[in-house]
């Protein structure tokens, strides 16, 4: 969902921003980020990583302890939340319970003191955008969670902010609605054309919706990259493990020149791979890149090892098979069921196979 021509000038610049609570709790630790105009940007990380604090600093509800935030060239350190060209959709949606849908959506425009006629037109436009055009007079307690979220979206977008912030927008929705809203949000962003910044702990959400993702952990940014880069070329163990599933085999790496390192592992011997990390590293490979064969492979561009089948989980289109390869931790492989011959793709515990994958698909990860 990434192809858009994005402008070069960043709309948000976060420069060396830190937030310290109560003297010693570092929620955000020296973060440096840029968000491009028209981008769908995601802040991704586990609970407590600082992503929500960072979002709140963008909105103006927290003041950075150090550093500065610049939005569209304007320094935001003295600008209160009600004067920023940024609007937020809150995790609880925060739809005003004593006002109708129309009154909710009109509130921001009323605060801007827009003329009544203009307000009426823009509210109708916003409601149509989120497909709530016929529910203008409804009260929030008569609506479902998904509908209330769309009211919150309309209410924020009607003000035509430069940036829209969304705090865990899909976490309160059931699975089916979540899928629909993922597509809906991306469609909305493309239609409206403004920059979206979302905060989420769900990596599949971030992968499917965002142009670029900043993965955070304990207050720092681990890696900022498009979803494909994050998945195929994670910079360190944390990013590799947080996004999708990955196998990690411990080893020692030494520099071998030419952008390659020589990695010594227990059961795989010594392998020379493309990489830069040295010292204590993990050889990492994604489960779907692993294949099995009854005969030993001979291609030098492959890494291969004998494995005994342990646990097997069947998912219909593929099986998640755990192989014991003598390293202590079983190797996870996602084997596609390409044939309909049940005998052929059934793995039984104790069976032995040659497990292999390409050297090119292997990552050398430091901490």
């Amino acid at each position: 969902m990434a192809d858009q021509t994005l402008s070069d000038t960043p709309i948000i610049q976060i420069k060396n921003v830190s937030k310290i609570f109560g003297g010693n709790v570092k929620a955000v630790d020296n973060v440096d980020l840029e968000v491009r105009r028209g981008e769908f940007f995601a802040l991704l990380g586990p609970s407590g990583c600082g992503k929500t604090t960072l979002l709140r600093m963008l909105a103006g509800f927290e003041v950075p302890t150090h550093g500065s935030i610049i939005v569209d060239g304007q320094e935001m350190s003295n600008v209160p939340p009600n004067k920023r060209p940024i609007n937020m959709v809150f995790q609880s949606y925060a739809v005003f319970p004593h006002m109708s849908v129309e009154q909710n959506v009109a509130y921001g425009l009323k605060m801007d003191r827009r003329p009544a006629k203009e307000i009426k037109e823009r509210v109708a436009e916003a409601l149509d955008l989120v497909k709530l055009g016929h529910l203008g007079k409804r009260m929030p307690d008569e609506m479902s969670g998904g509908q209330r979220q769309r009211v919150a979206l309309a209410r924020a977008l009607v003000k035509r902010p430069k940036v829209l912030l969304l705090d865990e927008p899909l976490s309160a929705l059931d699975a089916k609605l979540r899928e629909a809203m993922q597509l809906e949000l991306v469609r909305l962003q493309k239609t409206v054309g403004i920059t979206f910044v979302i905060v989420t702990h769900d990596q599949s959400e971030a992968l499917s919706m965002a142009n670029r993702i900043a993965v955070m952990n304990t207050g720092t940014v681990q890696q900022v990259a498009p979803p494909t880069t994050l998945y195929e070329m994670p910079k360190n163990r944390f990013v590799a493990d947080f996004i999708g599933k990955i196998n990690m085999i411990e080893g020692e790496a030494t520099d071998a020149g030419n952008g390659e390192v020589r990695v010594k592992t227990g059961s795989l011997g010594e392998i020379t791979l493309k990489g830069t990390a040295t010292g204590k590293v993990a050889l990492a490979v994604r489960p779907e890149k692993i294949f099995v064969d009854e005969k030993q492979p001979t291609d030098p561009s492959l890494i291969y090892v004998k494995g005994k089948v342990g646990e097997v989980a069947y998912f219909g289109s593929y099986s998640n098979v755990f192989f014991d390869i003598g390293t202590g931790t079983p190797l996870q492989a996602d084997i596609s069921n390409v044939s309909s011959d049940i005998e052929e793709f059934t793995f039984k515990t104790g069976e032995e196979y040659w497990v292999y994958w390409r050297k090119a698909d292997t990552l050398v990860l430091g901490d």
């Binding site: 103006g60 939340p81 005003f96 605060m111 307690d141 924020a156």
Partner: protein, 283 residues
Amino acid sequence: MRLFKRNPDPMGPLDYSRRFWLRATVAVTLFFLYAPIIGLIVFSFNNSRRNIVWRGFTTDYYVKLFNNESLMLAFGNSLTIAVFCTIFSTILGALTAYVLWRFRFRGKAIYEGAMALPIVIPEICMGVAMMVFFARIGWPTGLPWPFNLSAITIAHIAFSFPFAAIVIRARLESFNPELAECARDLGASEFQVFRDVVVPHMKPGLIAGALLAFTLSLDDFVITFFTSGPETVTFPVKIYSMVRFSVTPEVNAASTVLILVTLVVTAFALRMQNRNNMLSNAA
């Protein structure tokens, strides 16, 4: 036992409400609590001046009550004081509740404790203190009505606004702070946030607090006794002075009227509180 006729299931070990000794205790307590009051109300219809023995039904003493000028004046005073007390107590209570809910500041715990003091201090201590205070600062006496009720009104506001504050504070606990942040985000100033988002949420609490302040003011005797004068008599104080004269059914009738007004207002306040709880579960 006849009791089991209504509920055929055998009594469980934790079914305390079905045990005889508990029911008996509750019955006796209720009796001692309400028998005097019911007696009072019943004997207000008694056709006897001395009102010791029942001598027949009459509503004459209610007629006498409504024709008693000084009593009606006292009732008017009570109502006036109660109205002013309600208005100011609700406003003060709302502001106090908001400050305590929204802000963190030095000495907040002390302030919270000090504000709740009137609830804990014995009324008679407050009454005497008020009386000495007004005398000491030379509060003007002999003012025209309604200004002569000012001392009593001030005393009433002082002891009833903490109750209103507590009721409103309880309502504020169920307020989602993201609503206030959202209003800010959409462009509202702090005042606009208060007016457009917080106050509408507080409304059931405001009404309940107001009704509570009204009841407290209307019924107050001890503090009013110390701060009132011969020209500024309130209803409860007047009833007291009538009792010292002679306990005719007129006194009973006056008391019954007071009980009735209090009951109606309290019932209304309780209904508001219930709506509080239901609304806070929905929003």
